[in-house]
C-alpha cells in the first residue's frame, strides 16, 4: 500500500509537469509542422510569459486587488498578450527573412534569438531567481496509515484543468475554424496552399502566436508550481518540451500532448526512484534514443525526402 501511494504520488507529479510540457511542446510542433524549423527561442518566450505574469500579479496585488481568480485571469491575459506579441515579432525579425534558405541558417538565427531574449530579460530583471508567490495553496491528502501521505494539491488540479481546457480549445480551433483549416492546409503543402489563395504569411504568424500564448499559459502555471523563476529557466524547459514534441512525433499535435505526459512521468519516476540530479540526463538520453531509433516519434508520419 505504501509503495502504491508513493508510486501514485510520482505519477501525479509527473503528469502535472508533463501536461505543462505538452503546452510548450505545442509551439514547437506546430511551427515545425508548418515551416519545418526548430523554433529554438520558444523556451525564452515561455520564460517571458512567466515573468510578465509575475509582474502582473505583483502589480495587481500592490494595487489592492484581492480576488484571486481575477488576479490570475488578468495575469494570464497579460502574459498571453506579451508572449504572443513576442512570438509574432521574433518570427518577423529573425525567421521570415531567412525562410526557405539552407536548414542550418534559420536554426542559427533562432539560437541567436534565444541568446538575445535570455539576456534581454537578464539585463532588465537581473539574473537572480525571484520567488513566485504560491497563490493556490492546499489540497487533498490521502494516507494509508499515516506514514506516507500522498497529496494532490489544488495547484496540480489547476494545472490539469487549465491544460485540458487549452488543449480542447486548440483541437476545436484547428479542426473547426477557418484559420485552423488553413493551418492544416499550409502544414500539408505550403506552396499549394498559397496557390489556393491562403495568405501563408498570416497563417505562419498565427502559428507563432498560438504557440506563444500556450507557452505563456505554461509559464504562469509552472512558475507558480515551482515557486521561483529566473532568466535561464526557459532554456531547459524549452529543451524538455522539444523532447516531448519529438517523442510524440514532431508536427503532430496529439503527439505533443502524449510526448509531454510520457516525458513528465519518466522524469518524476527518475527523481522519485533514482536521484533528482539525473532527471535531465534521463530526458536528454530519451531524446537521443528516440531520434536514433524512431526519428518520426510515436505518432508522427514518416518524412519522405524527395530529390
Amino acid at each position: 500500500m505504501q509503495d502504491l501511494l508513493y508510486f501514485s504520488q510520482q505519477l501525479i507529479n509527473g503528469l502535472t509537469i508533463g501536461s505543462a510540457y505538452a503546452l510548450i511542446a505545442i509551439g514547437y510542433t506546430m511551427v515545425y509542422g508548418i515551416i519545418g524549423m526548430i523554433n529554438f527561442a520558444h523556451g525564452e518566450i515561455y520564460m517571458i510569459g512567466a515573468y510578465t505574469a509575475l509582474i502582473a500579479i505583483t502589480g495587481l496585488t500592490a494595487l489592492g486587488l484581492a480576488w484571486l481568480p481575477l488576479i490570475l485571469i488578468v495575469a494570464l491575459l497579460c502574459a498571453m498578450i506579451v508572449s504572443s506579441s513576442m512570438g509574432w515579432a521574433v518570427e518577423r525579425v529573425a525567421y521570415r527573412p531567412v525562410r526557405g534558405r539552407h536548414r542550418l541558417i534559420p536554426l542559427i538565427s533562432a539560437i541567436g534569438m534565444s541568446i538575445f531574449l535570455q539576456n534581454y530579460v537578464h539585463l532588465a530583471q537581473g539574473s537572480r531567481n525571484i520567488g513566485f508567490p504560491a497563490l493556490i495553496e492546499g489540497g487533498f491528502n490521502f494516507s494509508a496509515d499515516g506514514a506516507f501521505e500522498m497529496s494532490l494539491s489544488y495547484m496540480q488540479i489547476t494545472i490539469f484543468v487549465t491544460t485540458l481546457v487549452c488543449m480542447t480549445a486548440l483541437s476545436l480551433f484547428i479542426s473547426r475554424s477557418r484559420t485552423g483549416r488553413a493551418c492544416r492546409a499550409v502544414s500539408q503543402d505550403l506552396g499549394m496552399a498559397s496557390l489556393l489563395g491562403i495568405d501563408t504569411n498570416r497563417i505562419i504568424s498565427a502559428t507563432f502566436i498560438i504557440g506563444a500564448s500556450l507557452a505563456a499559459v505554461a509559464g504562469l502555471l509552472l512558475g507558480m508550481y515551482y515557486g521561483s523563476i529566473d532568466p535561464l529557466f526557459g532554456f531547459i524547459a524549452g529543451l524538455k518540451a522539444f523532447t516531448a514534441a519529438v517523442l510524440g512525433g514532431i508536427g503532430s499535435i496529439p503527439g505533443a500532448m502524449l510526448g509531454g505526459l510520457i516525458l513528465g512521468v519518466s522524469e518524476s519516476m527518475t527523481s522519485g526512484y533514482l536521484s533528482g540530479e539525473y532527471k535531465d540526463v534521463v530526458s536528454f538520453g530519451l531524446l537521443i534514443l528516440i531520434l536514433l531509433f524512431k526519428p518520426t516519434g510515436l505518432l508522427g508520419k514518416p518524412e519522405v525526402e524527395k530529390i
Partner: protein
Amino acid sequence: MAANNYRHALFCAIVTLIISFPILGFNLEAKGVNIELTGAKTSTIVAVILAAVAVFVFQAYRDSFMGLLGKLPKLNPLADKEPMEQSKRVKLESWVLTGIVVLALFWPFVVSRGSVDLATLVLIYIMLALGLNVVVGLAGLLDLGYVAFYAVGAYTFALLSQYTGISFWMALPIGALLAGLTGMILGFPVLRLRGDYLAIVTLGFGEIIRILLNNWTTLTGGPNGIGGIPEPTLFGMEFGRRIKEEGNTSFHETFGIAYSGEHKVIFLYLIALVLAVITALIIRRFMRMPVGRAWEALREDEIAARSLGLSRTAVKLSAFTIGAFFAGFAGTVFASKQGFISPESFVFLESAIILAIVVLGGMGSQLGVILAAIAVTILPELAREFSEYRMLIFGAAMVLMMVWRPQGLLPMRRIHITLNKQG
C-alpha cells in the same frame, strides 16, 4: 496603399511597446519574502517610447528606406571591383596569416602580463573555432555540444595529473585523442540524423556531459572542480619559483636570470601560439586533401555526393572526430592555463560563443574565423562597461548575420577557374 502602410506601422509600434514595456518598465525586487514592483528609471521608459516611435517611422517609410539602402552599396568602394584573382588572393591570405603569426611572436615581450594572459585565451578560442569550423563550416554539421569535447580534454588532463601526476606534454596528445575518440563514439550513431536533429542531439549530449561532471562528485569533485593542475615545463625546466617535482630544474636558475612571474605567462602564450598555428596548418592541409573536398561535397549536396560513391558515415565521422580532437587540444591548454577547472567553464553558452565566432567569421573561412575569434574575445575586454551586454550583442549579431550575410564577414572562396569572357 499608404493608409495600409500606416496601419501596419502603428501595429508594429504597438507590438514594440507590448514586448518591451512590461519587461523593461518594471523591476521585480525581492524584499525578504515579498516581491516588490518598482518602476524603472525615466530614461529607460523614454528609450522604450523612442524605440516604438523609431519602429513606427521605419515601418511607415519602409519603402523609401529600403530604396536608400539599395543605393548604399555603391558607397562601398570595393563593391564594383572585380574579385581578386585566385592565385593573388591565396598569396595575400598566406601573407596576412604569416604577418599575424610573426606579430604574435613578438607581442608578449612588449605588453603587460594581463594582455598576454588575454592573448592566450584568444588563442584557445582560435583553436576551438578552427576545430568547430571543420564540423560546422566545412562539413555542414551543426554541433551545439562542441564544448563537451573541450571538457573531455580539460578533464582528462586534470584527472590524470591528479591521479597519476602526468605532465602537460604527455597529457596533450592523450587529451586530444580521448576527445577525438569521444567524438567518434558519439558521432557513429548520431551522424545518420538530419541536420537540425543532429544539432539538438549534440546539444543534449553536451548537457549530459556537464551534468555528469557536476554530479559525479567522487571522481570529478562536482561543482568544486579540480585544482592544482600543473603548468607546462620546457625540457624539464619548471617556471615556478620553487621546483615542485623532483628531477626538474627551474627555468630562471638554469639561465641565471632573476625569477619573474612573467616567464610562465609568456611561455604558456607561446605554447598556445604554436599549437594554434599547428591546428591551422593541419586543418588547412585537410581542406585540400580529398577528405576535405568530400566534407564540402557532402555539405553542398548529400544525395549527389553519395551517388558519386562517398561514404556518408565515414566522411562525416572524420570531420566530427577531427573537430573533437582539436577541442581536446584546446581543453588541455585551457586546464593548464587556469590551473583549476570546474563544470562552470563548459556550459552551453560557451558552445554558443564558439559557434558565433565561426558564423561571424564566415563558415569555412580560416582567416575569417581567426579574426572573428580575436574580435569576439577582445572587444568585450576593451569595452568593459558594455561587457554585460556582450551576450545580448552576440545574439543580435547572430540573427543579423543570418539575415543579411549568412556567408560571414570574410566568406570562404572555393578555388575555381573561370573561363575568359568571349568578345
